[in-house]
């Protein structure tokens, strides 16, 4: 009895040893061990920028309507860009939800000149090979730059009569097609190199002009940062008042 028990214990040990030897081999042959995490990089960011007239704008996505503009996708690291697919869509809200229309695919989209609202993408859908997708909202500003029409007073070559304390009128005019859409124009008046930020004022009176030549011009800036200016206008101040007494 004692011997049998001893024999049985020996047999069990042999089987266990064999099983333990085979088990790692089985595990190793069945598992597909992934590469170490350090070697795999994730897509860190995806951004959209606009190119128009050779100028790149990635912050405001601002275009002016007269020329065509190209929207491009920037992926970092860029080697993953080829694995992704892109869909440019126009989405319009209606009463019971919204209507979606695909405008194009690929990593770039060309907005035609004088594009209508429906041909400017509002969103970009990005899909990876596994079918996951991400939707990026695009807020593309169509802005017509302002135009500085003229310095109405004083005009180039004007002679102004007065002393250093006489208040001379400065008046100017600018235009912007987008003012009806809420675009505001701000002005910077530059007199003899000194810049006066005047906000929306388009008319001031200023003194302090010694007899002799002076110059003035105005820079107009719209809400999107587009600006225009005119060439400095030279005018003359003549102090005839002193001699009249």
């Amino acid at each position: 009895m004692y011997h049998k028990r001893q024999h049985g214990r020996t047999s069990f040990g042999i089987v266990t040893a064999i099983a333990l030897a085979i088990l790692p081999f089985l595990f190793c042959s069945c598992l597909d061990i992934p590469s170490t995490p350090e070697n795999r990089r994730e897509i860190e960011h995806i951004s959209v920028y606009v190119m128009q007239d050779g100028i790149l704008d990635s912050s405001l996505l601002k275009i002016h309507p007269s020329d065509s503009a190209t929207l491009k996708v920037n992926v970092f690291p860029r080697q993953y860009k080829d694995d992704l697919s892109f869909e440019w869509i126009f989405e319009r809200n209606i009463v019971n939800g919204h209507v979606t229309e695909t405008l194009g695919t690929g990593d770039k989209y060309v907005i035609p000149p004088a594009a209508k609202e429906a041909s400017i993408p509002t969103h970009l859908i990005i899909r990876d090979p596994l079918g996951s997708e991400m939707k990026i909202s695009l807020d593309i500003a169509v802005n017509t730059p302002p135009h500085m029409d003229s310095l109405l007073s004083p005009t180039a070559g004007d002679t102004l009569y007065g002393s250093t304390s006489t208040a001379f009128e400065f008046r100017w005019q600018a235009s912007d097609k987008d003012t009806e859409l809420g675009d505001k124009l701000n002005y910077t008046l530059v007199i003899d190199g000194m810049r006066y930020n005047l906000g929306t004022l388009n008319h001031i009176r200023q003194s302090g002009f010694a007899p002799g030549p002076h110059s003035a011009y105005v820079i107009v800036t719209d809400s999107y940062g587009d600006l225009d200016s005119i060439a400095p206008q030279e005018f003359y101040v003549l102090d005839t008042l002193e001699g009249s007494l």
Binding site: S163, S165, A167, G199, L201, I204, Q206, E242, S244, L245
Partner: protein, 519 residues
Amino acid sequence: MKRALLILAFLIASCSDSDDFIFDQAEQTEISISAMLSTELDSINRKGKADTIHPRDTLTFIAEIDPSRSIRMQKYYWTLDGHRWASEFSFRTNIAEPGHHKIALVLIDYFGDTLSDTLNVWVGNPPVLNDSLIIPLTGTQGLSPDEALSFAWNAYDPDSIYDIRYHFTLSNRSNDTLLDTTLSNSYLVYKKPFQPLETYHWQVSAYNEIGMKAQQTIDGTFHTKGIKDESCIIGEIQTSGHKNRHSSEKIKIQVSFIDTSGKAVMTDTLAGATNGTLEYKTNPIPAGTYKVVASSIDFSDYLGDSTTVKVLPSEVIQAKSLFLADMIPPTISSVKDNADTLDLGDTLLFHVEDNGDNLSPEDISVTFDSKSIDGTISLKNDTLVVPMTGAPHSTTFRLLTLSATDLSGNESKRSFYVKPDRFWFECNADTTIYEGEVLRLHVEDTNPYGFEPDSFYFDIFTTDQPITIHATNPYVSFLVTSGAFSETTNHVRTGVRYTNGIIKWREWNVTRSFTTRSK
């Protein structure tokens, strides 16, 4: 065996103080923490939970732990915007990064519970206001009173994170406020009409979102034009009275505006405090050159002043300030014959006069025998009353000095001699003797020191040798006839020589009348 185990368990239980380790809520002390900050070096007095500071300001952070900092705890630390920052209970540092910061004190107690308290700090630099690049430039002339006027100025936030607000005020020359508002834009259009030929002041102060005020302020002035090119002269007249003294007196000043032909085109009378500033403004006058002359009407001590002004068409010109200065000090004299030597009486009277502002007792100081007696004097209609009732008796002359300072700071000082009120001896006083009369000359020693008289002297005839009488007792007298006095006024000296060598004299006069006394 079982019994032995039971006994052993009983013994162990009876020896142990396990009751002490049983949780008793009543014995627990609640822990609380509070984070505080202070900008003061003395952090005890002014502590708070929030503050607004400059990047270079030093803050003291204080951890207050109740019941005490010596409680058992695992750890404590401070965080700045969520990041581990410091590990002291209290420390001093600055926060250089502009913006809103949250500073938290975190304490993990012995049981692992976390307590925390949070402070808020706003860091920023005040906005910068350009006080020279302004529209309209200060001193601008000829602005139309009927047109809207645009104001503009430049400012920026050095941190580029805070919005700037502007406090704008507009007032006229009389300091009536026309507009007092807060703006978010650095420009303003004022559309209400102005008064013609008027001067206006406008001021701008800039503040950022956290209430920091720009060091600079804009203080501009402009003038509106008149009708038909008429002009105006404005200015101020300062009087020299002491600025720190309130004066109830009014000074009347006449201001004349004289053109180049010598004609006064306008004369005005101003009235105001003698120690202040009076402002004037002409009516609309033609452009030209004018002499502005100012003089005091009723205070002759104030010297006049003048200036010449050239005013252009439609200008409001600010003339140079005129200054009426009181350059003449008060005068001091004794009421009785303006004498320098005075008899000591219950009161002494003086004239203290000034042709400027009225003087008050505060403007006068009196010293008698080197002691101030300011507190007892009074002044009524230029008459100074100096009570002398408390003055100690004296056998010598004493000095009484008066000093008077008018409101323009002009000071005059004069000293008087006060005669002795006690003498070493008594003798005759001033008297008159008629023809045929006799006069008893007498002397009685009353010296307060107990000196022994040796001789008495009577110097009647102004000779070198006075009448000398040996003193056998303290009193001597004798008679002389009127014929002994040959002059109309005769100076007589009476003297006493003491045994210790001291000689004292008193002078008096005998007026000789060469007629008989009328009955």
